[in-house]
Symmetry: D2
Subunit: 335 residues, 4 copies
């Protein structure tokens, strides 16, 4: 029996053909390095178009590093970032924000289904005191870690008070495509006051690549030196830019995300376990006890227990209706 990782994460899938074909197509001739090549320029244009915004764009290898470098750009080491307590930057990056930010803090905020509770922003009212790391930025995630999607209005309720204090805003868009496919307006990102956005390529079905979008031109100053020092200014930049060309020119970026979202809904509908969070993007989180999870693993299907205690199933561009139905059948058999 071969182990099945189909639903273990949205990064267990191979790269989509549109992305890989573009990478292969870009692999021709000699070109200048470190993101100065025409492939990187073209991909940056497409991302600006996607966001309908004038901004600097860089292509990097790691979402963890992209997030951490962004937070470090918005803060000094003695400052702290507001983030959802279960945000990727808080729980899945081995302390990368503190490492790249030399000790910058994360103030973990509560909120149902991965969305920050706006009331927790009362933290902004606390006076600066020297023994505490003062707040300097807000980190958002859309789609959230629990497969829900912030509306523009919900984000405005969070970014508004933060921008009013003059603080920075980072948006982790590892699953921005899924959020957009669920109705989130990408053209609103700039208006919301986001300073630094990470557009996920990897989870959207590309080979490893993430785009860092720098809306605040002041932050762009010497950003390449920042990336280079952090190991995120690839010499062969075209390999990280090309997949975005393939996915954006073809519309596959949003189309594949819409498919992943639809597969998650299909799975949720067939799910014999209680679904804990609204299925708005590409994840399904269900209530399942350890014995049952053990039977699922024994049946050869991997799924992970998540931070809120639920078990997570992720869909991707490569998820098929057949595999959803097959998993649903297995799940029914182990209840």
């Amino acid at each position: 029996m071969t182990a099945r990782y189909d639903f273990a994460s949205d990064n267990t899938a191979p790269a989509a053909p549109e992305a890989l074909d573009a990478l292969v197509a870009a692999n021709t001739g000699f070109t200048s390095g470190y993101g100065t090549d025409p492939v990187s320029a073209r991909a940056a244009d497409l991302i600006r178009e996607l966001l309908d915004a004038d901004a600097e764009v860089r292509f990097v290898a790691s979402g963890t590093a992209a997030n951490a470098i962004s937070l470090a750009a918005l803060c000094r080491p003695f400052e702290t970032v507001l983030a959802h307590e279960h945000a990727h930057v808080c729980t899945d990056e081995t302390g990368a924000p503190g490492f790249f930010g030399q000790g910058l803090g994360l103030m973990r905020l509560p909120g149902a289904s991965g969305r920050i509770d706006p009331e927790s922003l009362e933290a902004l009212a606390a006076p600066d005191v020297s023994y505490r790391q003062p707040i300097a930025a807000l980190s958002l995630t859309n789609a959230t870690e629990y497969g829900t999607v912030y509306s523009t209005e919900a984000l405005e309720a969070l970014t508004g008070p933060v921008k009013a204090k003059g603080y920075g805003v980072h948006l982790d868009g590892a699953r921005l495509a899924n959020a957009a496919a669920a109705g989130f307006d990408l053209k609103a990102v700039k208006r919301l006051g986001v300073d630094l956005l990470v557009v996920g390529g990897t989870k959207a079905g590309m080979p490893p690549t993430e785009a860092v979008v720098i809306f605040d031109r002041q932050l762009a100053r010497r950003f390449d030196a920042r990336l280079k020092q952090g190991g995120q200014l690839p010499s062969k930049g075209r390999f990280y830019a090309a997949p975005f060309i393939g996915m954006l020119e073809s519309g596959a970026f949003l189309r594949h995300a819409a498919h992943a979202n639809a597969m998650a809904r299909r799975l949720a509908e067939a799910m014999p376990f209680k679904v804990r969070h609204a299925v708005e993007a590409n994840g399904v989180f269900v209530e399942m006890d350890d014995a049952t999870l053990g039977r699922l693993h024994a049946a050869g299907w991997f799924a992970y227990r998540f931070l809120d205690g639920s078990v997570r199933f992720m869909c991707s561009w490569a998820t098929t209706t057949e595999s959803v139905d097959q998993l649903a059948g297995v799940l029914k058999s182990i209840t």
Copy 2:
């Protein structure tokens, strides 16, 4: 006129077909993440075979990060690393070793043509004093930044005294293939006492990828957490491992490097300018004044003035005899 980057660096070339084909071939089915997949396992086996050594192997995106993380693993922030004054870690990584190592120092040693002068190791005899960062490791580069190659004996003369003090040894092998093609015995790396080796994929003709080889098993403890925090534990690990499979199984890793070295020799022979360093690997460094370099740039051929004042021409797997001859012609025309 299209600008020609053929000789500007060995990372301006596209990926070799053997590497890219393997990447495409690995892009099938779902697989587990973070280097636990069978593609990564197979590539690691091939690297162990190449080095004839039992060692841990990881595949990462960035050579700059791989080097810096290696030095940080060998030192604490208050310690320093011996390195050639023109080594990549000293001059081309925007301070990445100090960033990843939180201030770890680099003690820059002299030496002709990029090779550390063994006499400069007298620094090892200096007593530890609290106001100075004490030595904790040696960083070597083979092939060197000046296209020369250390012999096993020359390396032994450097690693011997360092290991005798109980210090660590890092080998930057961004151009290890070129060194090997020039006669450097890869099977000697472990015997030399190297603790951490970075095997360059990118400059060897692959899409972005580097292999970190951990000879000292004690250093392997929690190395994945170290990499993850540093943004160098790719979720889709197979994309960084597969190119090594393609290049190693086919023998292209060494064959392409031998070709690059041969192209450099061909260029050196046709060179109308004084060649400053022995052409043992894939680079040719010549003496050229600014006016002449300006004429070369005006002719549409890029080349950079290097740290020792010479102008550098790099060859790669993709360099052709035609392009060498064409460049040689241009060079003659501007003398």
Copy 3:
């Protein structure tokens, strides 16, 4: 009306005469620097005697830095430290552990009255996974932040499982004198497996000074370089060592702490508000609403609301029965 800071903290008091006299006495003649002077040697001997242990001793200026440097010595940046959620390292040091430790994590454990609940050590059983910062050390505080004191047995229940895993142990002894005066056996510190101990001078009634005790000789290697880089290797070391001589030779170190503890008990007995934690050392924590605290401040007496919501009153060597009775009278008047 002059504001009264008598009970605001145990660092609002002046230095005790024994400490200051010794400092003045040491201020004679020329001497060698950076802790190599005879005053520092004598003070180190006295601390070894106090602890009945062979250990390296250094004198530094800051408890925050001493704690943070200790944790950084026990961990690498990708690792984490177990600590009580309200420990000074977690709440009062502006992220110093993450700064000095370049992102090292703090795993905040619960426990009544500032003592870590031994059941929370089940965290030790969790397997290392690369996305999480693995545990590398335990940080303890005695006396605790809530004026309670760990018994030797209670500490053993915490250090035992941690040492069994091979991890490090740090003891923040900012109020070690108060713990000792309350019965904690200082000679047990080494036996408990503590690797690095910070003995508080400042809160014990000295001018600013803390002693770092290095029980694990392996950690002592190059510790001076670590301190120097961290700004904690004073050139005029005698000024930080001398106060310890004055306090230890005279017995004032424990005698003053016993007095502070007694003053806290006296205050607790006269307290018209509910005392929340056992008064074992020199602090009294009471339940008081905001309006009442406002009246206290309006009456010119400073006290701070603490992390658990209680209001804290600290006693020191300089607290008098008169001032305790005076405060008690004010407190009664505002109920």
Copy 4:
């Protein structure tokens, strides 16, 4: 024979009576912490008066930390600081700037007798390139490490071009008193564009203390949190502030420095060895071979060989004409 450290450094002396008396005088009553006390306020006023400038002032324990924190405040980790190659920040602080600045670089500039050669500022003209740490600040030292003193004009020639680029300026004033006593106009510091000044207390004859002067109010934002995180916001701030009161109110700050400078001149005049640098402040640097230095040590007098190969003798407030003459006699006897 007791070893003589009189001339080994200017930090081997005891504290001057004016400084210590003020410390003792400040040791009365309870007071608020972390620099909010009246003693700190008064000392800050005196420093503003000394500099004839409106500025924020903080009192810290360590000059090494004060310098490093200042540079970290002026730079991000991927940037670099211009400094004299033999400046304290480059050679005597165990890499503290890189540690506190998480890898920030130091670009070492040449210049005779510790003064930066203005021509070396041509480095400012180099374009930012991502592989190099771009310049962000200039670090100056007055008096210099070689006992010379910059004139206002000489400093202007350095700060002018740096400020014109919008970069920051740090002045290490560990021996600012000696510079002032030699004629340097302290009221010019602000006009020169210095953003952060460290006024040395320790080498000026105080117990350990340094004043950080923040001329640029924008840098003052959250500076206390920065200091606290770096272990340099003393809870008992009055102990670091009081010595400045004693020295400044009495005029001893400049008077003692003038004495130290005079003692250096006296020593230079009696010196049987060639004096290498102009004796403008409190140090004398002479040419002496190893054998002779060995005889000096054997005679019980400590002196250190410095970075330029000369042997350094430092005078302080506590140096007497008798000890100068005694040393001169010993020196003559060993020639």
